[in-house]
């Protein structure tokens, strides 16, 4: 059995920490936790995690200091900052200090998973452009920007195709409205109220890709978002 990817969480809030552990373990990661900067720094040195989830407001030692020390010591790991200090300046400072990504609290767990995947995938060679994504009987031609189901060509608007592609790239996982706002609509999720736009767009996409077919692929996960997956039999 290949060694599992190891994630270190430095987070002082116990509830948050336990929830993250539970979620990440069921996503297949090995997780270790620390509740202070010192402890986290020690674990980062001794356990060599692949990825560090770092809270910035820690007792005794600020998260940014820990990050600085880790980068100074040349430890090779991805670092994802999780914090409620979420201004542009905080973000810039975090990234400048050596973080690979920055996620503001509160975040959706599915988004956290997506970011973690993206960070760990950075090592892998990029996927070929002319690939096709296949989910059950749904085929998406990424380069040709077309989609078909059961061999039947689906007539999609550009936005509908982008939405479908994004859902397909995150297949099996739930994507939140915030992720869609930012990644598909390319709007600043924080200031643009387009949840109802997304809902209408999803409803239209569903009419085209699911309604004519017996097996429904596009699921609404209440309170979280949407997911494109082959339903379990």
């Amino acid at each position: 059995m290949p060694e599992r990817t190891k994630i270190l969480i430095i987070e002082d809030d116990g509830k948050m920490s336990r929830a993250l552990v539970s979620g990440l373990e069921s996503a297949g990661y090995e997780v270790i936790t620390a509740s202070t900067g010192e402890e986290g720094f020690y674990l980062a040195h001794s356990q060599h995690p692949d990825l560090l989830l770092l809270d910035l407001t820690l007792p005794h030692r600020n998260g940014l200091e820990v990050l600085q020390q880790i980068r100074k010591d040349g430890l090779d790991m991805r670092v994802l900052i999780l914090t409620s200090h979420n201004t542009v300046e905080d973000r810039v400072e975090g990234l400048r200090t050596g973080a690979d990504d920055y996620l503001g609290k509160p975040f959706s767990f599915s988004e956290l998973l997506a970011r973690i995947d993206a960070l760990l995938r950075r090592f892998l060679p990029p996927a070929p452009e002319n690939r096709a994504i296949v989910i059950a009987d749904l085929t998406i031609d990424v380069k040709g920007r077309t989609a078909a189901r059961s061999g039947q060509f689906l007539e999609l608007t550009p936005r509908e195709f982008d939405l479908l592609l994004y859902l397909a790239e995150n297949r099996g996982r739930t994507v939140s409205r915030e992720m869609l706002t930012r990644d598909v609509w390319r709007e600043n999720a924080r200031y643009t109220p387009i949840d109802n736009v997304i809902d209408v767009q999803i409803a239209r996409l569903r009419r085209k890709i699911d309604d004519p077919f017996p097996v429904k692929l596009l699921q609404t996960v209440r309170g979280i978002g949407f997911s494109l997956r082959e339903p379990a039999l």
Partner: protein, 471 residues
């Protein structure tokens, strides 16, 4: 020299320095004037005296020159006591010398033409070291030409001038001391209102922000006090607004929290199916999303209030921005069959220089609001025009055919957390921050936003923007 730290001290110092300079100049002029006047007087006396003396000279039987003394009955006459006189012939031989000279010569050898055409007044040094101011005159007596030199010691004059100088030297510092003291007192008196203002201002804190400074006093100070009072007005207003906003925000956050709690408790109380639990959890998550949006908007408001977006300005066409936002919402409009009718679009094709990102936030909120309240199958009228004001600001009016705004709510609609009391709009009301954000942003860009109160069949929102951004 180190300046005194207080304004009072500085005023006094400058005042004293200027006064000292003036006094010194004044004393100098006075001194010189006095000297000239006294010298002139002495000359005048000597000339008078020489004429008198001419009448008193005679040769006695032995051919010696004598001065008739009996002319003056009083031997103590100062002319007799003080007068220095010497009479010479043109060869320089002394024919007469007054006793007051004690045998000393009055002046050096004869000068060419001495006493011929002028009195030749001058100061000479005597053998005993004292100085005398003398005049010369030629006089013919008994067929002989005599040179009369007549002078007075200038020691009394010098003494007098010295006394005068001493008087000035004593009087000037005394006058200066008085002036400085008076200046200090006057300055203290004049600046007293400042002290009072300072004490008053120190006592104003958050709890008595309604207190104001006294505005009686000299005009400059009362003006200052008035300015500070205006500042306090604005601070108080901001503070009251902040306090109300905080309590509103707490209330707004408590409402979804209450929902969260109730949903959670009810779900746990009942022994329900997994599906019902899922439903409850989903419900809770939806509420947290709403909470998060509210917090984001609050932060946005707080941040937009704190910074001026000066460095992010670009030039762009307003109509393009509006079209971009319309296309973002086009799917909503399609769904409810709402048509956007654009009027005078050419007027909107004006390049304006402002923060595009901020303006977009405002336009998104206003359009979103208009679409939200538009009934199915209605139209949305978007019109561009230039305002009547001399600056010719660009106006965008966005007009819907919805329920409109209840009378008296045209201003309040921009207040934070405002949700209309009117029944028609209750169902669609959101967190109540969108229009506050829009207003704040537009104001930050130097523009105005208002709802046309004359407009009843729906709501008409007008955004007025300066073309070159905030000056």
């Amino acid at each position: 020299m180190k300046m005194p730290p207080t304004l009072r001290g500085r005023l006094t110092l400058w005042y004293s320095l200027v006064l000292a300079a003036l006094l010194l100049i004044y004393a100098g002029i006075l001194f010189a004037f006095q000297y000239v006047v006294l010298t002139h007087q002495l000359l005048h006396d000597e000339v008078q005296d020489i004429i008198t003396v001419e009448g008193l000279l005679y040769f006695d039987s032995k051919g010696m020159l004598q001065l008739r003394q009996d002319y003056f009955s009083r031997p103590q006459s100062h002319l007799l006591i003080d007068r220095l006189m010497e009479v010479r012939d043109l060869n320089g031989d002394v024919l007469y010398r007054s006793q007051t000279l004690h045998g000393m010569a009055l002046g050096g050898p004869n000068r060419p033409n001495e006493g011929d055409s002028s009195f030749g007044e001058r100061i000479v040094r005597l053998a005993d070291g004292s100085h005398a101011f003398l005049v010369s005159h030629l006089h013919t007596l008994g067929g002989r030409t005599l040179l009369i030199r007549l002078g007075y010691s200038i020691v009394p004059l010098r003494d007098r001038m010295l006394q005068f100088l001493l008087l000035l030297l004593v009087a000037v510092p005394i006058a200066l001391a008085f002036a400085a003291f008076a200046g200090q007192a006057i300055a203290r008196r004049a600046l007293k209102p400042l002290d009072r203002m300072g004490t008053r201002a120190e006592n104003i804190t958050a709890s008595n922000l309604g207190d104001r400074l006294d505005i009686d006093g000299p005009e400059e100070l009362s003006h200052l006090a008035l300015s500070f009072n205006h500042l306090l007005d604005r601070l108080e207003q901001a503070f009251v607004q902040l306090r109300r906003f905080t309590s509103d925000a707490a209330h707004e956050l408590r409402t979804p929290l209450a929902a969260l709690r109730t949903i959670g408790e009810v779900a746990l109380e009942k022994n329900e199916s997994p599906t019902a639990y899922r439903d409850a959890l989903g419900n809770i998550l939806e509420e947290t999303t709403r909470l998060n949006e509210t917090i984001d908007s609050l932060l946005m408001l707080a941040r937009a209030e704190a910074v001026t977006p000066d460095n992010q300005r670009t030039t762009f066409f307003v109509s393009e921005l509006v079209d971009e936002v319309l296309s973002l919402f086009s799917i909503l409009m399609e769904e409810r069959n709402i048509t956007a009718l654009k009027e005078d679009e050419a007027a909107g094709r004006v390049a304006i220089f402002t923060d595009r990102g901020l303006l977009r936030i405002a336009v998104v909120n206003v359009l979103h609001n208009a679409i939200k309240f538009s009934p199915t199958g209605s139209s949305l009228h978007i019109q561009y025009f230039r305002s009547a004001s001399p600056s010719g600001a660009l106006c965008i009016s966005i007009q819907d055919e919805g329920p409109g705004i209840a009378a008296g709510e045209h201003e309040r609609i921009f207040e934070r957390f405002f949700t209309s009391t009117s029944r028609a709009t209750v169902a669609a009301s959101g967190a109540g921050l969108g229009l506050s954000v829009a207003k704040l942003v537009i104001n930050r860009l130097g523009g105005n936003i208002w709802f046309d109160p004359e407009f009843y069949s729906g709501a008409k929102c007008v955004i007025e923007l300066p073309i070159f951004g905030k000056a």
